[in-house]
């Protein structure tokens, strides 16, 4: 009987150990500092992404693909190329959104909400969101090859949209490799995987040009 109990205890310990526990205190600070250092050194970034939206009601996923370009401090181009065309450009004080039939230019000086959206998009992509205590509660776990950062929104507008946002950073280069967005009221999830990441390369300024 004793042997069985010891055996069960060993199994249970193994199971518990396999779940990554959240990092606390100095461990968390060290990881965040590492990610922040990488983000600060990143003058520009370009990559491709694959977005997979899980729609629980339809028991189906929707896959879309695109490209992303970022330039410090405040330029972001997020473009869907398949199966639909949709473009989002943030360039300092203006946001441009366009699809095949509609185009809009929004001035973020007068529209703070769009400014917030763009800022949060850039901060999650670069990892700067980890240090933004005003926007999110941050929990960091250490997995084998990645740091998984769970962001729980604090602000009302974001809380209405998201339950939480998970950022997955590669341990090898402290750069973001994946994002999971968990929606509030259902089991819907959006997964974004980044690939062909290029850092500090030259990006044509016209990529961030806002049409008049």
């Amino acid at each position: 009987m004793k042997k069985i109990l010891v055996f069960i205890l060993l199994i249970a310990t193994g199971i518990v150990a396999s779940y990554a526990a959240p990092l606390t205190g100095k461990q968390k600070e060290a990881v965040v500092a590492k990610i922040n250092k990488t983000a600060a050194a990143m003058k520009s970034m370009s990559c491709q992404f694959t977005q997979t939206k899980t729609v629980s009601l339809l028991k189906n996923t929707m896959v879309s693909k695109g490209t992303m370009q970022y330039q410090q401090p405040d330029k972001l181009r997020w473009e869907y190329t398949s199966p639909y065309k949709y473009l989002f450009i943030f360039n300092g004080t203006k946001v441009y959104v366009a699809n095949k039939s509609k185009k809009d230019v929004i001035d973020t000086q007068t529209n703070k909400m769009f400014k917030e959206i763009a800022r949060i998009m850039m901060s999650t992509v670069t990892g700067k969101a980890l240090s933004n205590a005003a926007d999110f509660d941050v929990v960091v776990t250490d997995n084998k090859t990645t740091y998984n950062v769970m962001l729980t929104p604090k602000k009302k507008e974001l809380k209405q949209m998201f339950q939480k946002v998970e950022l997955i950073f590669s341990k090898s280069n402290s750069m973001i490799s994946e994002i999971n967005i968990f929606e509030k009221k259902n089991n819907d999830k959006t997964n974004i995987k980044f690939s062909n990441i290029s850092i500090n390369g030259k990006i044509n300024e016209s990529s961030f040009a806002i049409p008049k």
Partner: protein
């Protein structure tokens, strides 16, 4: 306005009734398949865009509308037998009883016309059909709903190859088109 901008697209729906002819717009799809469409809701000064997914079965049409970033706006189940549309999930900024009432009716009429469901006279809408486009307009409120099927990647590649073969330029990207016009 804040909520609409936050989602980058959303639905704000009004309905009014006027007579329109019933036109069959049945799509030929394999049973229990999921269809993908782009939608545009045009309200004059404002407009909303996104993607609609629908799953069609013999008994029901289940659908979900979301913006291009994948953020859900509305999910619904349409019961064919009862001709009744139930809103399953609604984004917080749409979660007002008066919005949901009209949303329920309008989506039902959209489904009628997208799937060729004949439910007699449908007052209040103007229907326009073209090659791949279904457009339903609320006459009094001047709000239109336009649906176009999403082209899958394979189809886009085939089109590109066709353009190259004939020495034509493939479809321009959205930003460059504006730069050219300038």
């Amino acid at each position: 306005m804040r909520a609409l901008l936050l989602f980058l697209s959303s639905l704000a729906v009004w309905t009014l009734h006027a007579e329109i002819p019933t036109v069959s717009t049945a799509t030929v799809e394999a049973p229990d398949s999921v269809e993908q469409r782009e939608f545009v809701v045009d309200m004059g000064k404002a407009h909303l865009t996104g993607i609609m997914l629908t799953r069609v079965t013999d008994d029901e049409i289940t659908g979900s509308l979301m913006n291009e970033f994948g953020i859900s706006a509305v999910s619904f189940i349409y019961n064919r037998k009862k001709d009744k549309l139930q809103l399953v999930e609604v984004a917080p900024f749409l979660n007002k009883w008066y919005i949901k009432n009209v949303l329920r009716n309008d989506l039902k009429h959209c489904i009628h016309n997208l799937y060729g469901i004949d439910c007699g006279k449908e007052k209040g809408y103007i229907l326009e059909l073209s090659e791949n486009l279904v457009k339903l307009t609320n006459r009094k409120r001047n709000i239109s709903y336009t649906f176009t099927p999403l082209q899958q990647e394979e189809e886009l590649m085939e089109q590109k190859e066709e353009f190259v073969h004939h020495g034509e330029e493939p479809a321009e990207d959205i930003q460059n088109e504006d730069e050219t016009k300038e």
